[in-house]
Every structure is written in structure tokens, then in C-alpha cells.
Amino acid sequence: MVENNRLLVIFSHTILILSVIVLAFPIYVVFVASTLTLPEVLQTPMTLLPGRQLIDNYVTALTEGAGASSTAVWRLLLNTLIMALGISLGKIAISIISAYAIVFFRFPLRMFFFWLIFVTLMLPVEVRIVPTFEIAAALNLLNSYPGLILPLIASATATFFFRQFFMTIPDELIEAARVDGAGPIRFFFDMVLPLSKTNIAALFVILFIFGWNQFLWPLLITTDPAFDTIIIALNRLLRAVDDQVDWPLVMATTMMAMIVPILVVVLMQKWFVKGLIEHEK
């Protein structure tokens, strides 16, 4: 800022560029491995220059899967996409309407519901693994898309996020709409929803990544590989005996598991940053 110390500036850039490289290095290694043949990967030390198997490996993984009796990656990506979209859109839908109820209405038990939703914040899946699994089993949700999605779509933070935004909508806007004859449902669709557009986009980015990266819950409720998400499938592949891991194909699968959320974050960065910073507070 104030000083214009050239050395300092060069030092800062050097540090930053080095960090970028260090941070990206693991992915680069995985990328290189995904373009090699298995013998090339097993050579010590493995080369750090990309090989020629890029297309072969990815096509094989996409169409046939990355190991013996494993599901094709396109199917895994589809499952993961369905789950991620289901979770993110489901969370947004039920959170925006419950925030709307809590902010724009007065009714008996309003605060009770508010705290009930708040409580979900304190009960991550990890602390209620077994009983949640039992309920999902009792409701016949194992190995199904609803089973992957439904138990994860309650969201206190998304509800609070919308609540914060709704509080900033001026009272006079509601009154003007009332004078114009708009009831609560019309007001929701004509005013609240269009005004929430950027907030919804910001939240969507965060929740999509949250959904895509789910691990524990899918691990519990999918036993049928046809319903595996790509991350669960990767975990199964790594469980194979070391010698039988087809590293290039596994690494190609890893790349494909990462690329969708990374693209979402990088391409929708503006919304992502807004969503992250406002969502968490």
C-alpha cells in the first residue's frame, strides 16, 4: 500500500506463486498418473510428465469403470449429480419457505419451530449414525435416491441465511404489495423469489459442493454399487488389494470426481464467495 518497496512486492508474488504450485501439486500428480499406463505408474520414481493414455484411460473409466466389477464412471457421475442437485435444490426449497413463514408471519409456536430448526445445526450425521440408519432402513430408503437426499435436506444455516436476507426487505414493500392486492403467496412468487435470485445462486454453489462431496451418509445407505456416488466408489476401489488397484483408471476417476465441484467454484466464484461468507455467519 503505502511503501513501494520493489523487493517486498517481488517477495510476496514469489511466495504466492510457490503456494499456488504447492497447493496444486497433489492434483497435478494425480492428473499425470491418469495419463499413464499401469507399469509406468508403478515405476519408481513415477515420471512427472503426462503420458499418452489420457483419452484411453478416461474413456475406459467412463464406460467400463475403474476396476473389476465396478460401476461405470458415467453412472457414478450421474448418481452424484442427482444427489448433489437433490440436496442443494431441496435444501434451498424447504429453507426458503420455512424462512418465509418465520419472517413474514406471526403464528402460535413460531419460536418453537425456529428453535427446532436451529437444533439441526447441533446434530450432524456423524453423531447419530446408527439410529438415522435404522430409520432410513425402516422407511425403505436404503439404496435409493430419496434415501441419499432426504435425510440431508433439513438446513438451519440455509434457513438463517434466507431469514437474514428477508429481514432486509423493507416493510413498505410488503405494504405496497398489500395495497396492490397481493396476498402472501403472490408476494412470495412476485417479490421475494425474484429479489432472492443472487442469494439463491450463492447458496446453490455452496450447497451443491456440500452435496457432491457427501461421504459418510452415502457410505452407510448404499450397498448396491448401482447407487454408489463417485466418491464412495473411489473408496471401494482403494479397498482392493494394493496389487490389484488399477492406478491410472482410479486416478482418472479421481480427476472426474473433482472436476465438477472445482469448475463450479471457479466459474461461479463471485457467488461462491458471497454465499460462503454470508452463509456461515
Binding site: 413498505e172 414493500l173 405496497a176 398489500r178 395495497v179 396492490d180 392486492g181 397481493a182 403472490r186 429479489l195
Partner: protein
């Protein structure tokens, strides 16, 4: 015909009453202004007329029908809000037509009304813009356009000019009054600005603490303020007040420093010896030719306004302001003598503040 009749209207929030039984009739075609300091209940009263606040007791009728249980949209009213309350994501056209579309008017009729309002308000070039792309004055016009297209029986204005700069405020004030004259509707207008109130109103409703202190034409209110509150609120700078004792026979009032002020008021005859508040407007004070029978004051501040000057000083315990001609040779520190005509004196009960003069 749409006269607004307010009968014994009360409003309470829980145990706190904020409007204490208010009565008022606003005739068809009249421009009524509700004026008062902040927190006096003027906006609440307007919102009760609009149907945005429930009436706790009494009735509010428009055009002869009791409106207490009607939704705002069914009251044949339109409202212009303080912050305009334009729908930020809609174009000017969509803003103005929103209510009509909800009411399912035929499309050509909606378009006709929007065009007509845009013509009156000179908004034709802005119909496809969003509120964010408009200036303050243009937004104000859109808010009025949204009211006009509804073709309501009663226009309600809630401090519509308070967000504009001084010059634009004067201009829009004139436009609002012209609009009212051309539309043959009833208007109810809330403001805390007494200049706006005086210039716009056919009928002034001065409110204080949830009561209507006085209802009348601007001139009536100015010339015969019903209470010290009204006297102090209407007129700028405010009326000067000093206290004194009614003399024998009720023909004079003695101020604390022994000065005797002659009053032409026979109602005082029975009040000999009692304390009263005596009010004189700054513009009714003049420099006395001789100190005899005049009010002495030491000037501690002089404001030159161009057309005239304001001289501030103490008379006894009270601050007094005199509006003097621009060429009056008055400086800080001068001891001047002020006189006034007996007919310009307003007398009020010292405890209740109620007017004693006829």
C-alpha cells in the same frame, strides 16, 4: 363521492394506546393534511385509513361504507409511501400495472391507464427502466403513477417528500397539489413539515400524542391555535410564549418583571390573579418607538435571512424570537424594546395549554 369519516378511532398495541378516540370528517375532493411531530400517531392514523393497521375501536368509513374489516385493496384507496416502496426488480411499467394485473383488468385497459399516468407525470420515456436507474424525483413520480393508475377514490400520502432535497421538495409539492386539483379525488397527506402542511392543505389536522389537537383550515389554525402545542408547532419560527398574571378587571396581563401588557379580552375578567401563558408570533413583534409599555430584550443572536432578520434574546426566563425588517439596525448585545398589538396576543391556560382568547 368519497368522504372519509373517522369516528372515535382508537389504536392500541397491546396495552399501549397510541390513538385515543379521534373524530374527523374529510369531505369529498378535499386535501387534508395530518401534521404533527414524530411519534404523534399521524402515520398510524393514515395506515388505519389504508387498512395497513387494524382499527382497535371506532370506525373508519370511506364513501359511506365502514372499512374496518376490509383489505387495503378493497378500500378504493391508493398510497404513496415515504421510501416510495417501488418493486426494485420490476420496470416502471410493471410497477405501475402490478395492482391492475392482480385485479385482472383487461390488458388494453391497463396499458391505457399506464400511458395516461405516464403522460401526466412525464414518465413516458422511462417506462422500461427499473427504479434503480431513476433519480429521486423520478422515483417519486413513479410512486404517484402507481397510485394514479388505480383510479382510487382516496389518495393517501405518507411523508412522500421527506427523501427529496429541498428544491425538489418544493417542486413536487406543487405538482402534488396540481394533480389533486385535476383528479377530483380526496387526498389525505401526512407530514411533519408545517410548511408543507400549510401550503397543501384545505383542512389541517394537527396531531399530538395520539389526539387531534385542532382541525381546521390552515388560516384558522394559524390565527386561532387551539392550544399552546398547536401555536408552537404551526408557524416558523415558532410562537413566543411568556407567562404572566391576569390583572384586575382582566384588561391586562402582568409579566414577571412587572411589565403590563394590555389585552383586549373580556373573558379574562373572571380570572384576575391567575397565571396565563401569553403568546405572540415573532412576525407580530416590532421595535417599539419608546420603551414605555414595551418588552425589553437583550439580543444574544441575530440571523439575517435576507428578506428579514431574526433577533434572539431572553425575556425573563423565556427565549423570545422577533422577526424584524431586514434593515432593522440590531446587533448582538443591543438592548431593544419590542411592542405588539393587543389583537395579536394569544392567551392560553398556563396549566392545560388550552386557548383562552376567542
Amino acid at each position: 363521492m368519497a368522504e372519509v369519516i373517522i369516528q372515535d378511532a382508537t389504536k392500541s398495541y397491546g396495552n399501549t394506546q397510541v390513538i385515543h378516540g379521534l373524530n374527523c370528517t374529510i369531505d369529498h375532493g378535499e386535501f387534508a393534511v395530518i401534521v404533527g411531530p414524530s411519534g404523534c400517531g399521524k402515520s398510524t392514523l393514515l395506515r388505519m385509513i389504508a387498512g395497513l393497521e387494524r382499527v382497535t375501536g371506532g370506525t373508519i368509513s370511506i364513501g359511506g361504507e365502514v372499512m374496518n374489516e376490509r383489505e387495503p385493496k378493497d378500500r378504493n384507496i391508493a398510497m404513496v409511501f415515504q421510501n416510495y416502496a417501488l418493486y426494485p426488480h420490476m420496470t416502471v411499467r410493471a410497477n405501475m400495472s402490478y395492482g391492475l394485473r392482480i385485479a385482472k383488468l383487461p390488458k388494453p385497459e391497463i396499458e391505457r391507464r399506464v400511458q395516461e399516468a405516464a403522460r401526466i407525470l412525464q414518465l413516458a420515456d422511462f417506462l422500461d427502466r427499473r427504479p434503480g436507474q431513476l433519480s429521486g424525483g423520478q422515483r417519486q413520480r413513479v410512486a404517484m403513477g402507481r397510485a394514479i393508475v388505480r383510479d382510487p377514490a382516496v389518495f393517501l400520502f405518507d411523508e412522500p417528500l421527506s427523501n427529496l432535497d429541498a428544491k425538489l421538495r418544493v417542486q413536487m409539492r406543487i405538482e402534488i397539489r396540481r394533480l389533486h386539483n385535476s383528479l377530483d379525488t380526496t387526498s389525505v397527506y401526512v407530514t411533519h413539515d408545517q410548511v408543507e402542511a400549510m401550503t397543501l392543505a384545505d383542512r389541517l389536522i394537527v396531531m399530538n400524542g395520539g389526539n387531534a389537537e385542532q382541525i381546521g383550515t390552515p388560516l384558522e389554525v394559524y390565527e386561532h391555535p387551539a392550544t399552546t402545542f398547536v401555536a408552537g408547532f404551526i408557524g416558523s419560527p415558532p410562537m413566543n410564549f411568556v407567562t404572566g398574571q391576569v390583572g384586575n378587571g382582566g384588561t391586562s396581563v402582568t409579566l414577571h418583571d412587572g411589565l403590563q401588557v394590555a389585552v383586549s379580552d373580556d373573558t379574562l375578567a373572571a380570572m384576575a390573579g391567575q397565571t396565563v401563558t401569553l403568546g405572540v408570533r415573532p412576525e407580530h413583534l416590532q421595535l417599539a418607538a419608546s420603551p414605555e409599555g414595551a418588552m425589553p430584550m437583550t439580543v444574544d443572536l441575530v440571523e439575517a435571512l435576507g428578506a428579514d432578520i431574526l433577533a434572539y434574546g431572553q425575556v425573563g426566563q423565556e427565549q423570545v424570537i422577533a422577526r424584524l425588517p431586514h434593515d432593522a439596525a440590531v446587533k448582538i448585545g443591543d438592548r431593544i424594546h419590542l411592542s405588539f398589538a393587543a389583537s395579536q396576543v394569544h392567551l392560553f391556560d398556563a396549566t392545560s395549554g388550552a386557548r383562552l382568547s376567542p
